[in-house]
């Protein structure tokens, strides 16, 4: 009963006019970011963090979380209408989604994707509600040594985000940790790598780093190529027929299962879920022969999986403080900027905030469903804006976003510098995801290690005498060592465009 009461309390907070407005804005902006080429979910969430710093924590996180899952839906729109995925997790949807558009059934494809996303998102959020209580009660047992163990597990996951080359992934992770070292050190108070500048005493702003690495470098990469123009969407009726619904239902169910389960595993990205869900349709669907030529299952399955994944991936963040993907790492950064540490302690220290955010996930999924289908025409209009104009406008927002972090031009320069670094990393096939993970987790790991050693007066045995810490450290080491064990990754992971 307790959980129900707390969830109801969360709904009361999330349904306040102010929070409802922020959830709505978040869904709208998130969809826009998903639709726009050249700006992905990572940079999108990071860009809006400065604007939320003046809000109260609940509203800020509600809005950023809405942006996070809104982008997933925006990506679908471009996949279906343009044959160009707005973000990686929707790539597989292009196959049948665009085929449906060519048959004049774009409206149906988008509606089915919205319904599937809604079902997947709601089921995954119910999973979060069920998992929150038992895992949250762990919070009372978590001291600095256990927290250190959790952070070790989190950082070891960069192995899973490695992509093609483990060496280059580790270089990326080490660079992230070094960036995190800049500023006043957490125990002795010594300034580190500040080049004598007062501006760096608080460290390098992680928002400026992320906006540069993901936003600016993306613009610099794509500044050379052109892109498709949207077909006039075949809007002969937005509503799916009864046959469409009957055929989608099993695909949506399978997609929910695949997406939710993979979302729980840190290091799996949404792309893997949608790829595997498409694979499941190819194997189990009764209409598998039609896949590739505009079968509704080819949209329903992957799109459901991708949204179930996005919502399911919040479970490790909320309950363990482990960000499962680069976007969630940025979301975690937003929590930290608001003075909230995601993880087991969140439910003991800020339980109202946590439950309001969970309730807002349900509300956000409803908003997306209601919002997106009628607004499809607006999104197609945006896609007709010439690329050069969009580039100029995105640059405008990158500058405003980085300036407003501290109202200082310094952060604009940091953003530009990391745009150049990001461009070099992309050119050299160094993955960006590990850097994001370590920039966010590095300071937390160092602080908890040194706090632990303060408790034990410098003795490392504190990590061996507490059972929970030992278990976490062993898990972390096993994950980190997994490439040495030559466990073969599924092929889908090696081609994962998000890493």
């Amino acid at each position: 009963m307790d959980v129900v009461n707390e969830l109801l309390g969360g709904f009361a907070a999330a349904l306040s006019p102010q929070n409802l407005l922020f959830a709505f804005i978040g869904c709208l902006v998130g969809t826009l970011i998903g639709v726009l080429p050249g700006i992905g979910p990572v940079a999108g969430v990071a860009l809006l963090i400065p604007l939320t710093l003046n809000l109260e924590p609940t509203s800020a996180i509600i809005m950023l979380a809405a942006i996070f899952y809104g982008t997933a839906y925006g990506g679908t729109i471009t996949s279906v209408l343009l044959n160009t995925p707005g973000e990686a997790a929707s790539a597989i949807t292009t196959i049948d989604g665009y085929a449906m558009t060519k048959k004049g059934r774009a409206g149906v494809a988008l509606t089915i994707a919205a319904v599937g996303s809604f079902v997947g998102g709601v089921v995954a959020t119910i999973g979060l509600v069920i998992a929150a209580r038992p895992l949250g009660s762990l919070g009372l047992k978590i001291g600095p040594p256990e927290f250190f163990g959790l952070m070790v597990v989190g950082i070891s996951l960069l192995v899973a985000l490695a992509g093609k080359s483990m060496v280059r992934a580790l270089i990326s992770g080490v660079l992230g940790l070094l960036i995190a070292m800049v500023g006043i050190d957490p125990v002795a108070g010594a300034p580190r790598f500040t080049f004598g500048s007062d501006r760096l005493l608080d460290g390098v702003s992680f928002v400026a780093v992320i906006v540069g690495l993901f936003g600016l470098s993306e613009i610099l990469m794509t500044a050379t190529g052109g892109r498709n123009h949207p077909l006039t969407p075949g809007m002969r009726g937005l509503l799916p027929t009864r046959t469409d619904l009957r055929r989608s239902a099993p695909a949506i169910l399978r997609g929910t299962g695949v997406g939710f389960l993979l979302g729980l595993i840190p290091g799996m990205t949404g792309s893997v879920s949608s790829l595997l869900s498409y694979g499941a349709e190819r194997k189990f669907s009764r209409y598998r022969d039609e896949l590739g030529s505009g079968a509704v299952e080819g949209v329903a399955g992957p799109e459901t999986a991708n949204n179930a994944h996005a919502n399911g991936a919040l479970i490790p963040l909320f309950t363990l403080g482990i960000p499962a993907s680069p976007t969630i790492a940025v979301l975690m950064g937003a929590f930290l900027q608001q003075g909230l540490t995601p993880g087991p302690t969140l439910f003991t220290e800020h339980s109202e905030v946590a439950w309001a955010i969970i309730a807002s996930l349900f509300i956000g999924n409803v908003i997306l469903l209601v919002l997106n289908v009628p607004l499809v025409r607006l999104w197609t209009a945006i896609l007709r804006i010439p690329e050069k104009i969009l580039t100029a406008l995105i640059l405008l927002f990158l500058v405003i976003g980085s300036y407003t972090i501290n109202y200082s031009v310094f952060d604009v320069f940091v953003m530009i510098l990391f745009g150049v670094v990001g461009l070099a990393m992309r050119r050299l096939d160094i993955p960006l995801a590990p850097l994001v993970l370590t920039v966010v987790l590095g300071p937390l790991m160092e602080r908890s290690l040194r706090e632990s050693l303060d408790i034990s007066q410098g003795s490392f045995t504190i990590f061996l005498t507490r059972p929970l810490t030992v278990v976490l450290l062993v898990i972390g080491v096993l994950i980190a060592a997994s490439p040495l064990l030559r466990l073969r990754k599924p092929a889908a992971l090696n081609e994962d465009p998000e890493t």
């Binding site: 060496v167 406008l393 640059l395 405008l396 500058v399 604009v412 150049v420 070099a424």
Partner: protein, 174 residues
């Protein structure tokens, strides 16, 4: 700052490379090792071990050592991979370089000319010169993106953006 110089050099190095020489990767490896050397020197100054455990320089030192080892491993990998792999296409570095330069200029004058004037010029440059849009489109979007955005953020979202600090513009109050 050495990271900036080094990484800027990488795309340019690509341009002049003959087939199969991963110059960009070599430059990056050199930059990483220089960075690691700098970290090691600073870390020693910060104090690596204190009586109550690791000092402020401990983690940076460990990371710098790791960075050197990883860069060397990467160097060996690139040497192996370079043999027999086809050369990548020359990277069209001009447009990104101009974009970066325009951003640096914008950031440098932002506090002098103020947000409205500097962003107006920046957007005009990107729309008219880089984007080859017509005058009407360019001016309308540039005004909306500079003056419009200023009022949106300053007055509506209560996020202050910088005003000009040099005379002719300060009289206009922009």
């Amino acid at each position: 700052m050495e990271m900036l110089a080094g990484n800027k050099a990488a795309p340019e190095a690509d341009r002049s490379k003959p087939a199969q020489r991963p110059v960009g990767a070599w430059v990056a490896q050199a930059v990483l090792i220089v960075l690691a050397a700098y970290v090691v020197i600073s870390a020693r100054g910060l104090g690596i071990w204190l009586p109550q455990g690791p000092g402020p320089g401990f983690f940076p030192l460990v990371l710098a050592v790791a960075l050197v080892l990883l860069s060397v491993a990467w160097f060996i990998q690139t040497r192996r991979a370079a043999a027999g792999s086809p050369a990548k296409d020359a990277y069209p570095w001009r447009r990104p370089a101009i974009t970066i330069a325009s951003l640096v200029v914008l950031a440098a004058v932002l506090n002098v000319l103020g947000f409205q004037a500097s962003m107006l010029l920046f957007l005009l440059f990107h729309l008219k010169v880089m984007g080859r849009r017509g005058w009407l489109t360019s001016v309308v979007i540039a005004v909306a993106g500079s003056i419009g955005a200023f009022y949106l953020f300053n007055d509506f979202l209560l996020v202050p953006l910088p005003y000009a600090t040099v005379p002719p513009l300060t009289w206009l109050g922009v």
